[in-house]
Symmetry: C2
Subunit: 428 residues, 2 copies
C-alpha cells in the first residue's frame, strides 16, 4: 500500500536496514585513478579462470541437464559429501545431512539470523566485527554487544564477564559471532588455546557460537589454527565457510554445518528465500575440490597474497609516521591501522579520496557508529604490487598532512601505541 | 542460546515457516517407477546445454576475471540493460536503474515481503495461488486473503469488494499478489480487459500489485496478453520474472522492476541477504538474450511443451471419467483438475503413490489448509510424452477406483461441473 502522497509504506523492519558504508564508499572509488584499499575483493588474477573453463565444459558435457535443473534446497549431494571430507582435514566431524550449501556465506549469516534471532535478543561480537554480519543481526532486531579485542581476538575474560552480566539482567543471548581466523577487519588470528577457551565459555553458558571462517585457506606462513568447531563435542558451534576466496566470489557459494535441528530449520527458511543455490556452479565447485584442482591452485593464491602482505608491511614500515600503528596479520585479506586520536578517519576520507586513496573507515565495523573513528581497514589482496607501494606512500602523506592540520587545530598529539592498546589490538 | 535440554531456542518467526508440501511430497516420488505430475520442473531436454557450454566458454575466455568477481547488488549492468530492452517488447517501460537481478524469482518474492510486509498486514492473492509466494508472505506474518477465481483469474468484483471491506475494518493492505499469465497452479491466463481493470482497482485503492510473470514465454497458441505492468502509469505495479523457464532454473536468476524507492530498498535488503547474484551465470544470461540465442531457442521449448499440453489434454479426454473436469491452459506448465466433492485428494494420495502416480494436492495452494481438497495440480512439462499418456490412464483408474469406494461409503455423488464453478474455474 502507498500512503496519501503515493509513497510506499515500507515494513517496519526496513528501518533497521541501512546501506553498507563500504558500498557507499566504493561508489567514490570507481575513478580508475583511485588506489583502493577499501574493497574486500580477492585479486581477479587469483581466479582459476582456465580451470573453471575446463571444469564448466566437463560438467555441461557429462551432466549438463542435471547441472542446469533445480537442485535440492540443501545443495548438490556430491558437493556436500566432498565438503564433509574436506572439513575433516580441519578436525570438523559432521555429517553430510548436516551440511547445507548457501548462496555465499552472506546467506549463511542471514539464515542463522532468520532462524535464531528475535528482536532484542543479544548477539555478541568482537569490536570491531565484519560489517556484513553486523547488518544481518541488526536487520533481525538483535541487540549487538561488541566486546573489545586483545591481540589475537575477542577478549575472552571480558566476554565471559559480559555474558554473566547480560544473563543476570534477564536478557537472552542467542549467539556469539566470531571470525577467529584472519579476522575481518583486523587480520589477527586467535591462538588455539583461546579457541578452546571460547568454546568452553559458550558451552558452559549454553550459547551458540557462529564461527565464520572464510579466510582459513589464506594462510601465508603456517597452517591455520584448528577451527573452534573442531573442539565442539556438544553441537554448540555453527560453522560456515565459502568458496569466495579459493575459487570465485561470483559463484555465491558457501556452506554451513551445525546441530541437525538448526540445519533443518535453515533448510525450511532457505526454501522460501531462493529454493536452492546455483546448481551449475555447485557442480563446478564439486569438481574443483574432488578432482584435485583446488589442492594445486590454492597454494598459488597463497603465494600471490603472501607477497602482497609482505609488500604492504614493508611499505607501511618505510612510509608511515611513528604515530601510526598496525596489526600483524599472518593470512587473510586485511590489515588494520590505528591512527592518533586527533585524526578522525571519517573526516579525513574526502581528503584521501581527493589524493586518490581509498580505505574503509573503522566506524563501519562498530554498531555504535562512533568507535573506530581513528582506525581504518586496508585490503592488500586487490591492488597490484606497485599500487600497494604507491598507495601506502600516498596514504602516509595524506595522514601526515592531516595530522599536521589537526595538530595545529587541537595542539595535542597522543601516543598511538597507547591508543592501539586501548582498542585492544596488537601493534607492530 | 540453547534451552535447558540443549535444544535451540529458535526465533519466533520460525513458527510461521513450514516445509513446502510439494517438497515433502516429492520425497515420496523419487522412486523411478512413479510417474510424477507433481514437480514444477521444466523438462531438462528444454535446456540449451550446448548453447550454454559455448556461451560459458566465450564469457570465461573474454571476460573471465570480471565474470568470477563479486558484482554489484543490483546485478550486472549489461544484463539489466538487455532486460530493459527485452521488457519493452512487452510494453513495460522502466529504467535500467529500476531493474534489479534476483537470485531466482523466489528471492524476488522474499525481498518484496521483507521490505513491504509487516506482521498482520493484508496480502491479497487468488484462491488458489503459487504456494512459494504464500509461504513467503506467511513467513513475514501477513494476513493472506485469498479471493476466488473466475474463468481467467482472480474475481475482480469480489477483489474490489473485499478491499473496501478490509479498508473499512482499518486493516492495512500491502499487496495484491498476482500471476496472471498461465497461472500456477491452474494454468489460466487473464484477459487484457481484466488486466487493465485489475490495475485500475489497485491504483484507485493505492495498493501495490506484485505481478509474478515466470511463464510469459511459454505461450503455445498465440502471444501472451500484455502484462499488468504495461498498463501501469503510476508505479503501482512491481513486476518480476525469471530465466528459470527459458534458460536454466539451476542458474537461480530472476529480475524485478518497479517504483524506484522500492527497488532501492530491495537493493539494501539484498545486500545483507546475499551481496549479489551469481555473476558468471548473469553474464551467460546476458549473452543468451543479447546475442540472439534466446530468440532461436525459446520457440523450441514452446514446440516441445505445446505437444505435451496437447497430449495431456487428449489423454484426459480419453481416460478421465465424466465427473472429473480441468482447466484449459494455453501456455505455462500446469493444468488443474477438479474432482467430485466425495474425493479428498489428500486421502487418495497414498493410494495414487502406491499406483505409481504423483500429483500435488490442491490444498497446497490455499492458506487455510482445507480448500482445494477436491483439486489437484498436474505438471505436464516434465514427464516424457509416453509417460504422460500412461500416467493419465493410471490416474484415471486410481480416481475411478477411489470414487467407487467413496461412493459406496458416502452414497452421494455430485456434479463436477457445478463443483468446478464453485471453485471459480473454467471447465472443459
Amino acid at each position: 500500500m502507498l500512503d496519501n502522497t503515493n509513497k510506499p509504506a515500507f515494513a517496519k523492519r526496513t528501518e533497521r536496514m541501512k546501506a553498507s558504508e563500504i558500498r557507499e564508499l566504493l561508489k567514490l572509488t570507481q575513478n580508475p585513478e583511485v588506489i583502493s584499499f577499501a574493497g574486500g575483493l580477492p585479486n581477479p588474477a587469483s581466479f582459476p579462470v582456465e580451470i573453471i573453463n575446463k571444469i564448466s565444459s566437463d560438467v555441461l558435457t557429462t551432466i549438463g541437464e542435471t547441472a542446469l535443473q533445480y537442485g535440492t534446497t540443501e545443495g548438490v549431494i556430491e558437493l556436500r559429501e566432498t565438503l564433509n571430507t574436506y572439513m575433516k582435514k580441519n578436525g570438523i566431524i559432521t555429517d553430510v545431512e548436516n551440511i547445507l550449501i548457501t548462496t555465499g556465506s552472506q546467506q549463511g549469516l542471514d539464515l542463522v539470523g532468520k532462524v535464531l534471532v528475535d528482536p532484542d535478543d543479544v548477539v555478541i561480537a568482537s569490536a570491531p566485527s565484519y560489517l556484513g554480519a553486523l547488518s544481518v543481526f541488526k536487520s533481525y532486531g538483535a541487540d549487538i554487544i561488541q566486546i573489545p579485542m586483545k591481540e589475537d581476538g575477542i577478549d575472552l575474560d571480558i566476554m565471559d564477564h559480559t555474558i554473566k552480566k547480560i544473563k543476570n539482567e534477564g536478557k537472552f543471548i542467542k549467539l556469539i559471532y566470531t571470525n577467529p581466523t584472519y579476522h575481518n577487519p583486523t587480520g589477527v588470528s586467535m591462538n588455539t588455546e583461546n579457541r578452546k577457551k571460547m568454546y568452553d565459555i559458550a558451552r558452559d553458558h549454553g550459547i551458540f557460537i557462529l564461527e565464520d571462517d572464510p579466510y582459513r585457506e589464506l594462510s601465508y606462513f603456517k597452517e591455520s589454527e584448528l577451527s573452534v568447531k573442531s573442539f565442539d563435542k556438544t553441537e554448540h558451534v555453527i560453522y560456515m565457510s565459502t568458496f569466495s576466496k579459493i575459487l570465485s566470489p561470483g559463484f555465491r557459494l558457501g556452506w554451513i554445518t551445525g546441530m541437525s535441528e538448526v540445519i533443518r530449520k535453515i533448510a525450511i527458511a532457505k526454501q522460501a528465500i531462493d529454493l536452492c543455490s546455483n546448481t551449475l556452479t555447485q557442480y563446478i565447485a564439486y569438481y574443483y575440490i574432488s578432482k584435485g584442482y583446488a589442492e594445486k591452485h590454492i597454494p598459488k593464491i597463497r603465494t600471490m597474497y603472501k607477497e602482497k602482505l609482505e609488500i604492504i608491511i614493508n611499505a607501511l614500515n618505510k612510509f608511515m609516521p611513528d604515530y601510526v600503528s598496525w596489526t600483524n596479520p599472518k593470512g587473510g585479506m586485511f590489515i588494520w591501522l590505528t591512527l592518533p586520536n586527533n585524526i578522525n578517519v571519517n573526516d579525513m576520507f574526502p581528503y584521501a579520496i581527493s589524493n586518490n586513496i581509498a580505505y574503509v573507515t573503522g566506524t563501519a565495523f562498530y554498531i555504535d557508529g562512533k568507535s573506530g573513528m581513528h582506525s581504518m581497514r586496508l585490503n592488500f589482496t586487490y591492488p597490484s604490487n606497485n599500487k600497494i607501494v604507491e598507495g601506502i606512500e600516498n596514504l602516509s602523506k595524506v595522514i601526515k598532512k592531516w595530522n599536521s592540520k589537526t595538530y595545529v587545530e587541537s595542539n595535542n598529539t597522543l601516543d598511538s601505541k597507547e591508543r592501539g592498546k586501548e582498542l585492544g589490538l596488537i601493534l607492530k
